[in-house]
């Protein structure tokens, strides 16, 4: 079996009084695609943000790509170079062109020279189908194009693992497909990916493993055919019923 790129052990995270993660254990192996599904507020984003230390866990241990990010003495900036992050809101740098968005961290963080950074950036823009948009400003792109540029930006750092936090949730329905197909292609190329998503079809077809989270814990995990196809836990079944067939859910309270 491949080595674990992401290893999370007994992770706890609270915001003030509110305990959001109540002891999470999980791992992502090299080349694996792991999808996290679950209802709103269950702690999916918080888990993902703990993995690259955008949120500071209260307890537990997280090792990513050989860096123990929860170690107070770790060089977190160095650890983050190996962790690509894609946000729901894209977060492209608004004052920089698409190409500059892709080169700025390569040059300032990885100290690549301009020619090399440009070459890497253009290769990745090509990969996400935005080669001709290198000179555009982010505001001139559609949401789907922005998200693909954001993916290319993360890829330009040659990360060992990519984290996606609901990358298509902010997109108009007709733009979702482009972004998903880029992610699909990445998975096929063997990229290690940890993806929070509501796209069940994507999870079913691309994921090696699906985690169902509810109320700060992992309720059920396994291959997608099991977790999405034949869920064992009542809470998973309920969630999937609501997500896959939203119009056929009885109004809560009406069933009693």
């Amino acid at each position: 079996m491949n080595e674990a790129i992401v290893e999370v052990v007994d992770l706890h995270k609270s915001f003030g009084e509110l305990e959001v993660l109540k002891g999470i254990d999980m791992s992502v192996r090299r080349g694996e695609v792991v999808c996290i599904i679950g209802p709103s507020g269950s702690g999916k984003s918080t888990l993902l943000r703990c993995v690259n230390f955008l949120e500071e866990p209260n307890a537990g241990r997280i090792v990513v790509n050989g860096f123990e990010v929860t170690d107070p003495d770790v060089d977190i900036d160095r650890a983050r170079r190996g962790i690509g992050m894609v946000f729901q809101a894209f977060n492209l740098f608004g004052h920089l062109s698409v190409l500059e968005n892709l080169t700025i961290a390569q040059r300032k963080v990885l100290k690549r020279d301009r020619a090399e950074a440009d070459a890497v950036a253009r290769k990745n823009l090509e990969k996400v189908g935005l080669a001709e948009k290198a000179g555009a400003m982010p505001a001139q792109l559609s949401g789907g194009q922005q998200q693909r540029a954001a993916i290319a930006r993360a890829l330009s750092m040659d990360p060992a693992v990519m984290l996606f936090d609901e990358p298509t949730s902010a997109l108009d329905p007709e733009l979702v497909g482009d972004v998903l197909s880029v992610m699909r292609q990445l998975a096929e190329e063997g990229m290690t990916m940890l993806v929070v998503t509501h796209e069940m079809q994507f999870a079913r077809e691309v994921a090696d493993k699906v985690l169902f989270m509810d109320d700060g814990g992992i309720v059920e995990e396994g291959p997608p055919a099991q977790v999405i196809g034949e869920p064992r836990q009542q809470r998973t079944k309920g969630f999937l019923a609501r997500v896959l067939n939203p119009t056929h859910v009885p109004v809560t309270g009406a069933e009693t």
């Binding site: 900036d77 160095r78 983050r80 492209l92 740098f93 004052h95 963080v109 400003m137 982010p138 993360a154």
Partner: protein, 269 residues
């Protein structure tokens, strides 16, 4: 009698023009034009102001304002960073400073600095230092708030994206936050500069030598010398020479920032 909407609008507009014409005629007939022209548009009095009103007064006003604005910008930046600090006492100190200097009249600051401090501590600054410090104190409080608001207006996601790419906090500020905050801050900062230009007139309180005259004092001396309002009008026009271009610049920058913002909002929507 019922009027159509168009007729009513027409009648209302006609009434307004009638009042306007009446007013102009009344002023034309009743005003003492000789006296007014003599007071405001006295060519002899004007001639005596030139060129010193430009070469001394206007130049000094610009110098005092620039010095004050420069100092205000420096102190304001420190205050803004203090207000954004995670160390609470820094925030308190900055808040007290800002509330104090935003709340007290600039006049009081000038009196304190020009007369109070020399008396109490037996020191005397030369005029350019006094002007810079007084204007700097007054300006820094407003500038600090402008800078803080600008820095905070940069979405948190921008910082998170930069940190996720492995940028250090300092690098993030330098390459992502400050350039974007700058665009937001520029228009209100230009307005601060206009306000400070006008506040620089208070320097005349401090007692100036001829070479140190700024526009207000220069106009005042001109009034004494010529017994005419013309020097005051000239001084006023000189202020407009500074403030109107700055105002246009501010609006231009604002329009540009607004368009940027709009595009930015479209992005995050």
């Amino acid at each position: 009698m019922a009027m159509s909407r168009r007729k009513r609008a027409q009648a209302f507009r006609n009434a307004q023009y009638a009042v306007l014409v009446l007013g102009i005629v009344a002023v034309g007939v009743l005003a003492d034009w000789d006296t007014i022209l003599q007071a405001f548009f006295n060519v002899d009095a004007a001639a005596r102001q030139i060129p010193a009103i430009f070469t001394t007064a206007l130049v000094n006003t610009v110098i005092y304002t620039t010095l004050g604005f420069g100092l205000g910008l420096g102190v304001g930046l420190v205050l803004a960073l203090m207000k954004l600090s995670s160390v609470a006492p820094y925030r308190w100190i900055a808040t007290v400073y800002i509330e104090f200097f935003r709340g007290v009249p600039a006049l009081l600051v000038f009196i304190a600095l020009g007369f109070g401090v020399p008396l109490a501590f037996n020191i005397r600054f030369e005029i350019y230092s006094t002007a810079a410090i007084a204007l700097g104190l007054v300006g820094s409080a407003y500038i600090a708030e402008t800078l803080r608001a600008g820095i905070q207006a940069v979405p948190k996601g921008q910082v998170e994206a930069a940190r996720s790419l492995g940028m250090s906090p300092g690098r993030t500020n330098l390459t992502v936050v400050i350039p974007q905050a700058f665009r937001i801050i520029l228009p209100p900062l230009t307005n601060e500069l206009i306000l400070l230009t006008k506040d620089s007139s208070l320097i005349y309180l401090l007692g100036l030598t001829r070479d140190e005259y700024e526009l207000a004092k220069f106009g005042r001396e001109g009034l004494n010398a010529t017994n005419s309002l013309t020097p005051i009008l000239l001084a006023g026009l000189c202020y407009l020479l500074i403030t109107i271009p700055l105002g246009h610049l501010s609006r231009y920058l604002e329009g540009r920032a607004g368009r940027k913002q709009e595009q930015g909002l479209k992005v995050t929507a």
